[in-house]
């Protein structure tokens, strides 16, 4: 009894101390500049204009130094709110357009942007900081969204596997239906994964609305494997990143920069540069924002060299400004695909959902 009472007291004390420590620390985590400002962010009472609330997708990264730099140069505090992946983000913005989640959104990509634009989620803004490359990536006819970065979804290869098996590496989408490459490819489902959707757009860009499903049927006949998520395909099925059995996997043009050998002289995977589809990520001031000027200032900040330089490492995309510098591994092993397969954004806007549904019905069944 005594020992059990003693143990009880010890355990209780430990829990209480733990609880106390946690409680004591909470105010500190809540009293960060962004924390204290958050109530004001959505309210239209006094003081709203000292904070910019930024709604972002879940890959967004910003360091404390950058936050501080933003506050110093613009006078606004930054409140960052994460809202799921690109697709979820757009849908949330559409659902909340009557009372926006913040002042500015970042992370809307060209496969989903049309929905936000049609629904009137964004307010017009053209940043004076936009570069010529960025301007080229703008959506034709739209004056609301600003391109911030871009990246290409491409099939990746495991060259060692092809060398070991004495098979030539495939170079084009056409090659993949060749029986030589039977049972070698893994891609992701366009309905559940954002690279999967981009790859479907690549096949539509290449074979047209009439021909893409035939191509997919041929791929299927050639032993294509389709999984739901990128991590699943890349880490389980791909021979280049795990113990998988498929040397051709859907990933990004930048992925080879992350499989560089320890001595830094070569990479163990490569991207098939003729199978790529370009994703462009945009930022836009939200219509009905409390602090539209702050939102615009944030977009200008995103286009500044300081932020653009961090994009490759933090978000796995290429910067849009021409003056930004790429990390060494990128410039060496992850070149920008010179001629990605393109698809008219207007066509994507009209047919996106129908294409996915047709694909689902035909290929998955």
């Amino acid at each position: 009894m005594t020992t059990s009472r003693l143990r009880s007291i010890t355990a209780t004390t430990t829990l209480l101390v733990l609880a106390g420590t946690l409680t004591a620390c909470v105010p500190s985590s809540d009293s960060t500049p962004s924390g204290t400002q958050s109530p004001a962010a959505g309210g239209d009472t006094e003081g709203t204009n000292s904070t910019v609330t930024v709604v972002v997708h879940d890959s967004f990264q910003i360091s404390d130094e950058q936050k501080a730099a933003f506050t110093q140069s613009t006078g606004y505090d930054l409140n960052v709110v994460t809202n799921g992946d690109g697709g979820a983000l757009v849908n949330k913005l559409v659902l909340t357009k009557e009372s926006p989640l913040g002042d500015v959104a970042y992370g809307v990509d060209n496969t989903f942007a049309s929905r936000g634009i049609t629904e009137g989620v964004f307010a017009p803004y053209t940043s004076p900081a936009q570069s010529p490359t960025g301007a080229d990536l703008a959506i034709p006819g739209d004056d609301t969204l600003t391109a911030v970065d871009y990246g290409d979804v491409c099939l990746n290869l495991d060259p060692t596997w092809f060398k070991d098996n004495n098979i030539d590496e495939p170079t084009s989408l056409d090659d993949l239906t060749d029986p030589v490459y039977k049972d070698l490819t893994v891609v992701t489902n366009p309905a559940t994964s954002s690279p999967g959707l981009s790859f479907m757009f690549a096949t539509i860009g290449q074979y047209g609305e009439e021909g893409y499903l035939d191509y997919w049927n041929d791929l299927n006949d050639n032993g294509l494997k389709i999984v739901d998520g990128w991590e699943d395909a890349y880490y389980v099925d791909f021979t280049g990143a795990g113990d998988g059995d498929r040397p051709i996997a859907l990933s990004y043009a930048s992925s080879p920069a992350f499989t560089v050998t320890d001595d830094g002289t070569e990479t163990t995977t490569t991207a098939m540069l003729d199978t790529c589809f370009r994703q462009v990520e945009y930022a836009g001031v939200l219509a009905g924002a409390n602090n539209p000027e702050g939102g615009q200032a944030f977009i200008d900040f995103l286009l500044g060299d300081d932020f653009q330089n961090t994009i490759p490492d933090a978000m796995y995309m290429y910067p849009v400004t021409d003056s930004a510098t790429l990390p060494d591994a990128w410039s060496q092993f992850a070149p920008v695909p010179p001629n990605p397969i393109s698809l008219d954004p207007a066509l994507i806007a009209t047919n996106r959902d129908a294409w996915i549904k047709d694909w689902n019905a035909q290929i998955i069944g």
Partner: protein
């Protein structure tokens, strides 16, 4: 429901000289007046106790879900129910419903069948290392589904050690993973009850000549039925609405109502279809709860509860051989193997050499800053958030369990309690997407507060508490219900006001169950991903969120860090479980 109520009360009246308060109606006028004030007072007390959880559930669950579903049924402001015809005539809908039900039912049956022997070994027998074994069993419950999915697939994929089974991407693989996750729910819920059942009842049957098997079937299992059905209901809801597991392990064409709601909402923003699927999901959930309530009410009765140390005895290798074999096989084959696989992978680099680098990297923000916070900061966020979520869930869930454990005699009272019980289970059965999107359209300055809850970060622990509350209720309720109502009546007759009855009769029993419940709630909060991923801000990202981000990026270092972070999550969970166990078993001696 509360069936026990009928038999229980009747038995108590027949067997004891105690007169329950409500059996004294036709007395002198002043006594009638007293009785009425007492009735009014009782209504205020119970009404108040029920109101707090109801308001909580209403604001953070009922309202958001209803608002989102309602939006799906409104087209340009007019009610449009045409979607029912469209969705319900699609063969796809019925195929998905079939998979959902099959997955839920099979997952539940297997988890219960394996979990009951596990509960016996871990809660009824004593053996060295039991505390650790109990804590280890809980680990899978909190592990991020994506990591476990990838770990399972690494075993099952054509090149994996179990590739010869050919179950990669099949129904079997999904069910195996669901059992992996939910085994501990059965073990802990049933075990929590089993360890307190007086062994003398079964011993009496044995001394009257019943075989061990017969005593188990006719005495012990019926006594455990409320806990078993409780656990089964929870596991069914978890299995039927699993998301990450299904996405990773379900092969091409595999889908459930849950994944379809996600797809219709997140991919197509087709709220009309999503609303109908949500209604379908709610129907399945309601049906499951109804079945479970029926099974429970026909079995529930007051039991003689004893301190767990009285009920336990040392593990006997011969007598307990069957239960021990099943538990050992489950523990090693289904739980330990994937976990060990994960553990060893966390200590290897990409060339397969042993390394600690994945763990030392946890203090950084990942390969080329893949994260906004370090893994340790994320762990800290997780603990703080889980602490508040657990506190909230214990208060709300404790109140619910307390109210629902009452046995009113009026049919209205009984009905009210049945509904209340079922209502608080719903959060387990409704898609996180529906709740998350519902938050967005309802929680901008809710109830007149000038606070945009949607982006405040306060919502994270609250959303986790909503999910943890049903587990608290299901853990505490079977124990409270098993308290003999005669004890309440006796106390009341002796003049104890309701609060004193609660404090002296219910509280001592409840504290032990609350310890178990606190552990469960903490585990749920630590592992929660669905709702948290909708709400967490980058600087307050939790451990599961960070793990998901790491594994969503290329790079051997990021992958290794995701595994190492999962190991940390598992260890922290095990430690907290052991602490909760310790607190619980030691306070047991105090009454």
């Amino acid at each position: 429901m509360t069936p026990g109520s009928k038999t229980g009360t009747r038995r108590s009246l027949a067997n004891t000289p105690v007169v329950a308060p409500h059996t004294a109606p036709r007395a002198a006028p002043h006594i009638v007046g007293q009785a009425r004030t007492r009735a009014v007072r009782r209504l205020v007390v119970w009404g108040g106790a029920a109101a707090i959880p109801l308001i909580f559930l209403g604001v953070f669950f009922g309202w958001p879900v209803t608002a989102l579903i309602a939006r799906g049924f409104l087209t340009d402001g007019a009610l449009d129910l045409s979607g029912f015809a469209d969705v319900l005539t699609t063969p796809r809908t019925w195929r998905l419903l079939g998979i959902t039900l099959a997955q839920g039912v099979v997952g539940t049956l297997v988890a219960v069948a394996l979990g009951i022997p596990g509960a016996y070994i871990l809660y009824r027998c004593t053996f060295p290392g039991r505390t650790i074994a109990r804590a280890l069993v809980t680990i899978p419950f909190v592990l991020p589904t994506v990591v476990v999915g990838v770990a399972f697939r690494a075993l099952l994929a054509p090149n994996g050690p179990l590739g010869f089974l050919n179950i990669d991407g099949t129904f079997t693989a999904v069910v195996a993973a669901l059992v992996f996750f939910n085994y501990s729910v059965v073990v802990r819920t049933v075990g929590g009850m089993w360890e307190k059942i007086d062994p003398r009842t079964a011993e009496a049957a044995r001394s009257l000549g019943a075989s061990r098997t017969r005593a188990l079937w006719t005495v012990t299992l019926p006594q455990l039925m409320p806990a078993i059905t409780s656990a089964a209901a929870v596991v069914f809801l978890f299995c039927a609405t699993a998301f990450g597991t299904v996405m990773v392990l379900g092969g091409q064409g595999y889908g459930t109502i849950e994944t379809e709601i996600w797809m219709q909402t997140v991919q197509f923003l087709d709220l009309r279809t999503a609303a109908i699927l949500s209604i379908l999901q709610l129907t399945v959930v309601a049906l499951a709860l109804w079945v479970s309530a029926r099974a429970r009410t026909s079995r529930e009765r007051a039991l003689t509860l004893v301190s767990d140390t009285t009920a336990q005895r040392p593990l006997n290798l011969r007598q307990d051989a069957a239960a021990l074999t099943i538990t050992a096989l489950t523990g090693i084959g289904l739980l330990a193997w994937p976990l060990l696989n994960l553990l060893t992978a966390a200590f290897r680099d990409r060339n397969g050499n042993w390394t600690l680098n994945n763990f030392t990297a946890l203090g950084t923000t990942g390969e080329r800053n893949a994260l906004s916070v370090t893994v340790w900061e994320a762990l800290y966020n997780s603990l703080v958030i889980a602490f508040y979520a657990t506190l909230t869930a214990l208060i709300i869930g404790g109140l619910v369990a307390y109210v629902v454990s009452r046995r009113p005699t009026s049919p209205t009272g009984k009905n009210a309690i049945t509904w209340l019980d079922a209502l608080f289970m719903l959060p387990l059965g409704v898609s996180a997407v529906t709740v998350g999107f519902g938050f967005l359209i309802t929680l901008d300055r809710p109830l007149g507060f000038n606070l945009d809850l949607r982006s405040s970060g306060l919502l994270v622990p609250l959303a986790q508490a909503v999910v943890a509350t049903p587990l608290v209720v299901r853990t505490v309720l079977p124990v409270l219900r098993a308290i003999d109502p005669r004890q309440h009546h006796a106390a009341a007759t002796l003049g104890a006001p309701p609060w004193r009855v609660a404090l002296t009769i219910d509280w001592p029993h409840a504290t032990r169950a609350l310890g178990l419940a606190a552990g469960m709630a903490f585990a749920v909060s630590l592992g929660e991903f669905g709702a948290t991923s909708f709400l967490a801000r980058p600087d307050t990202a939790t451990l599961p969120i960070v793990i998901f981000r790491l594994i969503s990026k290329p790079g051997a270092e990021n992958y290794g860090m995701a595994l190492a972070a999962s190991v940390i999550l598992a260890l922290v969970t095990a430690a907290i479980m052991m602490l909760a166990e310790r607190l619980r078993t030691t306070t047991a001696g105090e009454f």
